[in-house]
């Protein structure tokens, strides 16, 4: 597998400018002769579909929801970063770039990250022009908030619904193009395979989720913007339908899969309340600014928190990380919480939870001020748990949240299959081993509005594409394979529900490939995942037919792919013999429990190549070089951030 990142030459600040200057173009009249398939209508998909249609391409857009507006980007709460320096607090493109590289623990590609930071400004301009109602100052200027991992205030937001508003902006641009007839939208349509013809991505095979009919769509390029796969854990902050199917099928067709084990776990989610629970809900991290985290000192203490006296409480984050305290970075906090719960100190009915206590802040600041600050979070918490966070401490627990891993792409966001571009969370994004808060939205829009519209043109201009027809060989074959696979799922007629397998898989991964990983654990996990996969194909029960609206069948297909991806995640975690960012290997820590990073051996992107079902995948590496920011001590950086938050 050839891994040429194709980074343009020149100094970092000029790479993208140069690229755009020299990029080959397609004449306006010629653009309408190109058909592009866009799978996914989240921030990345909707923005690219709209931008390409505006340029004149024929676009076919797909999503599994009933409306393109419901992609999971809608759920992002916090905000979007942009280096506008509206606060005059020293922000710059360079600072956003360097913070992202450092935040990602030096496992991302410098040139890509720089471009991301560079484009952040115009993205805000674009969104404002579309009518995104960002928060404003009384003067009418845009307001900013600060976010974890950053020393400046650069996060633009729309209350707690930033993702929703940005997506609605992109969706409205898409709607306009649909109305003009330049985009044809296929909602409730799931991509189940990629078609590669003549070594190039030339189309997809889909299932119409209403009628069950399986069809092939031919195109000149295929763009995947299908989001992340944290839902593999079953209990995650992702939507129920989030899946890896599109990228997994592309992987099986030859696309390299980069860093599959990089999963970000978010420390402050509402804990599971029982076995029936279907997902976990995020509580913004900002609560840690005013809350103290603790557990009872006695194991299995069932007293009400208010009855536990001060000296019987263990403020474990403050104890373990004297310098960070309750504001320890996401990965450290998550690990600590899991550890105390595993040791039996956890609170709540499941024992999987710790207190996030605001009582001190209530005394200090008063309930009204806190309500003003966190009102909507309190509302969500109260609705879900029935408890008022101002009266009794909240309970929180970490949950899988975001996947930095994804399909490998070069500077132009093209995968190892020519003609297959990957955008948004679906690619092995610009976030390295850990993502900064408020940068995923930025990446999705940068990829969609401003990068692929250029790089796709370059691909078309430099390529001679033969005509293909959905009636041709590779299409018909792929279609048949999909048909057989779908039929096989229904034919098993076993005894267990799809969800039962998904839950089991999630628990396995959480245990062994979650917050902390060990060689023994990962090896066990791989064995168990294989066993589970066999069991799935023998004992799953998918009721109903393939030719009708069948939600169990949809789930089954996704879980079947997750069962394969899970193994690759474990393999990747096993092969990465170091601790970096979100990836914590128990064997690789310093004596005081800090992660041990091995830049000598692992300063690279791990890229996996599929070799067939009966053969082991092959691990390739794209070396990473850092010319501008040097791998320095992340902890030192984080403590700077801590001082800042302390004074606030």
């Amino acid at each position: 597998m050839e891994l040429d990142p194709r980074i343009p030459g020149g100094p970092l600040e000029e790479k993208w400018i140069r690229y755009r200057k020299t990029v080959k173009l397609i004449s306006p009249a010629n653009k309408r002769n190109f058909t592009v398939v866009v799978v996914g209508t989240g921030l990345a998909g909707a923005s690219v579909a709209a931008a390409l249609a505006e340029l004149g391409y024929n676009v076919l857009a797909f999503c599994y929801q009933d409306s393109s507006r419901r992609a999971h980007s809608i759920a992002a709460q916090g905000g979007i970063n942009a280096a506008k320096n509206y606060q005059n607090d020293g922000d710059s493109v360079f600072r956003l770039f360097s913070e992202t590289v450092i935040g990602g623990d030096f496992r991302s590609r410098e040139a890509n990250v720089y471009r991301l930071a560079e484009l952040s400004g115009v993205i805000i301009d674009q969104c404002v022009a579309q009518g995104v109602p960002f928060a404003r100052e009384y003067s009418g200027y845009l307001a900013n908030r600060s976010f974890g991992g950053s020393l400046v205030s650069r996060t633009f937001y729309c209350r707690g619904q930033t993702g929703q508003q940005l997506l609605l902006g992109a969706y409205s641009a898409l709607c306009r193009q649909i109305g003009l007839g330049r985009v044809k939208l296929f909602p409730r349509t799931e991509m189940l395979d990629l078609v590669v013809a003549g070594g190039r991505a030339r189309g997809i095979v889909t299932r119409d989720l209403v009628t069950g009919s399986i069809a092939a769509h031919a195109a000149d390029a295929v763009l995947l913007a299908t989001g992340g796969y944290a839902n593999i854990f079953f209990l995650s902050t992702n939507a129920k339908g989030c899946n890896a199917t599109a990228i997994w099928r592309a992987y099986r067709r030859g696309a390299g899969f980069a860093n599959p084990c990089f999963v970000q776990v978010h420390p402050t989610c509402i804990p599971q309340s029982g076995e029936y629970q279907s997902k976990l809900t995020l509580m913004s991290e900002s609560l840690r600014n005013d809350g103290r985290i603790w557990v009872p000192k006695r194991k299995g203490d069932t007293r009400e928190p208010s009855e536990i006296p001060e000296n019987e409480r263990d403020y474990f984050l403050e104890r373990m990380y004297a310098s960070y305290g309750n504001l320890a970075p996401r990965d450290m906090a998550s690990r600590a919480v899991k550890r105390v719960c595993d040791m039996g100190y956890g609170v709540g009915p499941s024992g999987r939870g710790v207190y996030l206590d605001l009582t001190e802040a209530v005394a200090r600041l008063g309930g009204d001020l806190l309500r003003e600050r966190y009102g909507n979070l309190f509302e969500i918490y109260e609705r879900i748990t029935g408890r008022d966070p101002l009266k009794a401490p909240m309970r929180i627990y970490p949950a899988p949240h975001y996947t930095m891993g994804g399909l490998w792409v070069d500077y132009g966001l093209q995968s190892t299959i020519p003609g297959l571009f990957v955008l948004g969370e679906a690619n092995f994004s610009d976030h390295g081993a850990n993502r900064l808060g408020a940068s995923a939205l930025l990446q999705g829009l940068a990829d969609g509005y401003f990068i692929v519209p250029y790089t796709l043109g370059e691909y078309f201009a430099g390529t001679v594409l033969d005509g293909v027809s959905p009636a041709g060989r590779p299409f018909v074959d792929a279609q048949k394979e999909v048909q057989e696979r779908v039929a096989r799922l229904v034919a098993v007629q076993g005894r267990r529900t799809v969800d039962s397998f998904h839950r089991k898989l999630g628990a396995l991964l959480w245990e062994h490939c979650g917050i902390s990983r060990s060689e023994a654990g990962l090896r066990t996990a791989i064995e168990e995942i294989r066993a589970l996969r066999r069991e799935f194909w023998e004992d799953v029960r998918v009721p109903g037919k393939t030719t009708e609206f069948n939600q169990e069948l949809e789930k089954a297909g996704r879980v079947a792919d997750y069962l394969e991806l899970a193994e690759l995640m474990c393999r990747d975690a096993l092969a990465r013999e170091e601790s970096c960012g979100c990836h914590f290997r128990e064997e690789f820590q310093t004596s005081d429990g800090e992660p041990f990073k091995d830049d000598g051996r692992f300063c690279h992107v791990a890229v996996w190549e599929y070799m067939g079902d009966d053969r082991e995948p092959v691990r390739h590496a794209e070396p990473l070089t850092f010319e501008t920011v040097k791998p320095e001590d992340r902890a030192q950086y984080a403590s700077q951030g801590y001082t800042r938050s302390r004074r606030k």
Binding site: A50, E54, S67, R159, Q165, S172, A173, G179, G274, S278
Partner: protein, 267 residues
């Protein structure tokens, strides 16, 4: 908790549909309504039956996928919430619940509790946007928006397109949805140039889709998970009225061109 459920089962759009009775034992008050249905579905599948189809995705009240009418109220008795964020503690042990899909001519049933809401998307496609080309936007700070206006626009922009307003409206009107969209864009300075055109196009499409008209029953506001105010309906009416009376009747700057000809040019 024990519950008796009468759930609307309908195999497909053309099927007639009927209520089927289910008994649910050991539901927990901490469950969400959808988790209770998950549990029912699991039992149905394990017993060889067909699970109840219902739509859902984010399960945190933002995507707008989920929705059903529970005992005659869209999204159930709690108010101001979606069914994925409706918890069983709002129901009494032993409750008898009738569960029905959104019912509207514009929302044909696809299966059981799943309906086709693409009519709302078509309304958006008719005019729910600001026509700005990617890359042609001016620097963000050249457009100032007062805080009050931005907040008000945001109040309207929060609409999730869930369709609960249509389901609850005695007339099956989509007016709250359309009004939220018209108001969101119409309030902002960026939305002014297309304001009249947008109001007309969206209302026209709304009518084409077969929704009812608004008689100001206020049911929509009472069930809207985002608590969108019917004040926006008044606003949208005003915009539509203004557009109908003045839009494109404005005289052309050229001598001899009357308002009427201008109108023809527009077509």
């Amino acid at each position: 908790m024990r519950l008796t459920l009468y759930i609307w089962r309908q195999k497909s759009t053309t099927d007639k549909g009927r209520f089927v009775k289910y008994e649910v034992e050991n539901a927990s008050p901490e469950m969400s309504f959808l988790e209770m249905l998950d549990m029912l579905n699991r039992q149905l599948i394990e017993r060889g039956g067909e699970p109840v189809a219902f739509e859902h995705d984010c399960r945190e009240g933002i995507c707008g996928c989920c929705g059903m009418v529970i005992n005659g109220i869209a999204n159930g008795p709690a108010g101001g919430t979606t069914v994925c964020q409706l918890y069983m503690r709002h129901f009494k042990d032993g409750a008898v619940l009738y569960i029905e899909p959104w019912r509207s001519r514009a929302f044909p049933v696809i299966k059981d509790l799943v309906v086709d809401r693409s009519a709302l998307d078509r309304i958006m496609q008719a005019g729910g946007f600001i026509s700005v080309r990617t890359g042609s936007a001016p620097e963000a700070h050249t457009i100032l928006v007062s805080k009050e206006t931005a907040e008000l626009a945001m109040d309207a922009a929060e609409c999730t397109g869930c369709g609960a307003c249509v389901a609850a409206c005695p007339n099956g009107a989509a007016m709250l949805f359309v009004a939220a969209k018209i108001s969101h864009l119409g309030l902002l300075p960026q939305g002014q140039p297309e304001r009249d055109r947008r109001a007309q196009a969206m209302v026209r499409q709304m009518d084409r889709e077969g929704f009812g008209g608004c008689s100001n029953h206020r049911e929509c506001e009472a069930v809207c998970p985002k608590r969108i105010s019917i004040r926006f309906i008044a606003r949208a009416n005003r915009d539509f009225l203004r557009a109908s009376l003045f839009y494109s009747k404005s005289a052309s700057g050229k001598a001899g061109a009357t308002g009427k000809t201008k109108r023809c040019f527009e077509k």
